[in-house]
C-alpha cells in the first residue's frame, strides 16, 4: 500500500489540495491501480521509443499560427484581470 506521505507528496507536486478523507481513499485507489500496472513487467522488451512512427510522419513547418484575434476574449475569461492583463498574486 502506498503511504500517506507519498500521496501527500504527489498531491503537492500536482498542486491539489486533498482532504484527510481523500488522502485515505487515494491511498487505496492508487495502490490498486499501480498494482495493476505491474502487468507490464511481463511485457516483452521492444525496440527503442522513436519520436514519430516512420509510416505516419506528421512534420510541419515551424510557424506561428496566431490567435491574436481572440486575445481579448481569452483574457475576458480569466477570473481576475486588469487593463488587458491577467492578474496573478505577487510571488516575491
Amino acid at each position: 500500500m502506498i503511504s500517506k506521505e507519498e500521496v501527500e507528496h504527489i498531491a503537492k507536486l500536482a498542486r491539489l489540495e486533498l482532504t484527510e478523507k481523500e488522502v485515505e481513499k487515494m491511498q487505496k485507489d492508487l495502490s490498486a491501480i499501480l498494482d495493476y500496472f505491474n502487468l507490464l513487467k511481463r511485457a516483452p522488451a521492444s525496440a527503442k521509443v522513436t519520436v514519430a512512427e516512420a509510416k505516419n510522419p506528421n512534420f510541419r513547418k515551424d510557424e506561428v499560427i496566431s490567435s491574436y484575434d481572440i486575445k481579448d476574449k481569452l483574457i475576458a475569461a480569466a477570473p481576475d484581470k486588469k487593463d488587458g492583463y491577467i492578474k496573478v498574486k505577487a510571488i516575491l
Binding site: V7, R15, E22, I33, Y36, A43, S46, N58, L74, I86
Partner: protein, 467 residues
C-alpha cells in the same frame, strides 16, 4: 410524421421538398428535449435561442435552393467542445460558469454547413470515465433502460440521438468514449483515425489519443457528418490533409480479421452470440473470416491507463484558478492553485492527475511512463502486422451491455477494466466504429469494426453493407 425520427438524409429531402422547415425540426426536437431531458439528463444546457436563430438562417439558405446535407439539421454537441458564446463545462465544477470564447474548428465547419445546435451534452468530467457517472452534474440515463448508464464518456451525445433529442451529435473518444456509449445506446458511433479531425477547441484529455467523431442514427448519416468535419486545420498541428473517398469495397472477397484475444474470458455470452452472428452475416455475404492474434492485447489497458493519466495530468495543469473558471482567491499564489483545484476537480480527474503525476515523477518514470511508451510501440506493431493479412477487424465494443447506475461507481479499477476492447486501437491511433448488431432484452450491443489508419471509408462501407 414524427420529425425527430428522420435521418439526416430524410430530413434533408423533406427540407428540399418544402414539407417542413428547419424551424419546424428544431421545435420538434426542443419538445422532445423538454419532455425527456429531465429524466435522461443527456443535455447539460439547451441552447434554444441559438438553435432557433440558426434554424431561421438555415431556412433562408434553403430557400435559395443551394444548400448541403447538414443545412438546417439539428444536432447536439458534447460539452467538452467549444461553441462560441455558450457555456462549456466539461461537466466539471471548475468550469461551471465558463463561457467559450471561440468556436472549435468542428463547430466552425458545421456552422459553415448551416447546422443547427440544440445544446451541449453530458459527459464524464473532463471526458474521464465510461458511464457519465463522473459528471459533476449527475449521470445520463440510458434511454433503453433508465436504471442503466448510457456509457461514457460521451453518454449525453449517444443518449440524445438514441432518444430522438437530436438528429446527430458530436462526441470525443480518448479510449472508447464514442464507441462504448454508441454500443450501450444503440446508435452508430465513429472514432476517426488520430489526426483525421481537428481537435482545436476540444478541451483536452490526453493529446496523443483524443479524437472528435459523430453519433448518428445510421452509417450513412455518420459518414455525412464525418465528411463535414474531417481534414487539415492549421490550428491543430496533428491534423492531417485527408479526404474521405469512396472505397468501393464489397463484402464479397473482403478479409475480416477476428482477434481471438477479444473473445476470451470475461466476455458476456449473449454479447458473444450477437457478435458471432454479425461475423456470420458477413461471411454469408462472401467475406473471408480470418482468425488472428493480437498478442499484446493483455497489456493494452495498463499501457493506456499510464499514458493517458500522464498526459491528462499535464493538460489539466492549465486549470489553476488564474486562467479559467473557479478561482479561490484566499492566501498566496500557491494556495490559489491548491484550493481552486482541490475544490473544482471531482474524484476521477483528481485520481488521474495523481496517477499521472506519480507515473511521471522522478524514480518512477522509467518503470511506468517509459515502459508504457515501449509497450505502445509493440501494440502498434501488432495491428500493423494484422492489417497486412486482413482489411478490417471485427470484435465487440464492450464485454457487456449497459450496466446498472452505481454498479461500478465506487470501484475505479473495475470501471477502467470495462474499456478492455476499446483502448488498444487508440494506442495505435486507429479508427473504429460501433454498429448496432443486436439486443439482449432492451439492451443494445454494438459490433466494433476497426480499420487501418485513414481507412474510415472501408469501415463505413463495410458497416453500411451489414447494417
Amino acid at each position: 410524421m414524427d420529425l425527430t425520427e428522420l435521418t439526416i438524409k430524410q430530413a434533408h429531402e423533406g427540407l428540399k421538398n418544402k414539407e417542413f422547415t428547419s424551424v419546424d425540426l428544431v421545435k420538434a426536437y426542443l419538445d422532445n428535449i423538454k419532455k425527456n431531458n429531465g429524466e435522461l439528463n443527456a443535455f447539460l444546457s439547451v441552447t434554444e435561442e441559438l438553435a432557433l436563430e440558426m434554424a431561421e438562417e438555415a431556412d433562408r439558405k434553403i430557400a435559395t435552393g443551394n444548400f448541403g446535407m447538414l443545412c438546417g439539421i439539428p444536432c447536439a454537441i458534447k460539452d467538452a467542445i467549444l461553441v462560441e458564446g455558450q457555456k462549456c463545462t466539461a461537466a466539471s465544477k471548475i468550469l461551471e460558469n465558463y463561457t467559450a470564447p471561440y468556436d472549435a474548428t468542428v463547430i466552425k465547419k458545421l456552422k459553415a454547413e448551416g447546422a443547427v445546435i440544440l445544446g451541449k451534452t453530458n459527459t464524464d468530467e473532463f471526458t474521464m470515465g465510461a458511464s457519465t457517472e463522473n459528471s459533476a452534474f449527475g449521470p445520463t440515463k440510458n434511454p433503453n433502460d433508465k436504471t442503466r448508464v448510457a456509457g461514457g464518456s460521451s453518454g449525453g451525445s449517444a443518449a440524445a440521438v438514441s432518444a430522438n433529442m437530436a438528429c446527430y451529435s458530436l462526441g470525443s473518444d480518448t479510449g472508447g468514449s464514442i464507441r462504448q456509449p454508441a454500443s450501450f445506446c444503440g446508435v452508430v458511433g465513429l472514432c476517426p483515425t488520430y489526426g483525421a479531425v481537428s481537435r482545436y477547441g476540444l478541451i483536452p484529455h490526453a493529446s496523443s489519443f483524443d479524437q472528435i467523431g459523430p453519433f448518428a442514427k445510421n452509417v450513412e448519416d455518420a459518414e455525412t457528418v464525418f465528411n463535414a468535419i474531417c481534414g487539415k486545420d492549421p490550428k491543430d498541428a496533428t491534423s492531417a490533409d485527408y479526404k474521405l473517398e469512396d472505397s468501393g469495397i464489397k463484402l464479397k472477397g473482403l478479409r475480416i480479421g477476428v482477434p481471438k484475444e477479444y473473445f476470451a474470458k470475461g466476455l458476456n455470452k449473449e454479447v458473444e452470440k450477437i457478435i458471432r452472428g454479425a461475423i456470420k452475416k458477413a461471411e454469408d455475404a462472401g467475406a473471408e473470416i480470418v482468425e488472428i492474434s493480437l498478442p499484446t492485447t493483455e497489456y493494452a489497458l495498463a499501457c493506456y491507463y499510464i499514458l493517458v493519466p500522464s498526459e491528462a495530468s499535464a493538460n489539466l495543469a492549465r486549470f489553476d484558478g488564474i486562467r479559467y473558471g473557479l478561482s479561490k482567491q484566499d492566501g498566496n499564489l500557491l494556495s490559489v492553485y491548491l484550493k481552486s483545484r482541490g475544490e473544482g476537480f471531482g474524484d476521477e480527474p483528481k485520481r488521474r492527475i495523481m496517477t499521472g503525476t506519480y507515473c511521471l515523477s522522478s524514480g518512477y518514470y522509467d518503470a511506468y511512463y517509459k515502459k508504457a511508451q515501449e509497450v505502445r510501440q509493440l501494440i502498434g506493431q501488432d495491428f500493423t502486422e494484422a492489417f497486412e493479412k486482413v482489411d478490417v477487424l471485427f470484435c465487440p465494443v464492450s464485454p457487456f451491455p449497459a450496466f446498472k447506475i452505481g454498479e461500478k461507481a465506487d470501484d475505479p479499477l473495475s470501471m477502467y477494466l470495462s474499456d478492455i476492447y476499446t483502448v488498444a486501437l487508440k494506442i495505435a491511433g486507429l479508427p473504429g466504429l460501433s454498429l448496432p448488431a443486436g439486443k439482449i432484452g432492451n439492451l443494445p450491443v454494438g459490433l466494433q469494426i476497426i480499420g487501418n489508419h485513414f481507412q474510415e471509408n472501408k469501415i463505413l462501407s463495410v458497416a453500411e453493407q451489414i447494417e
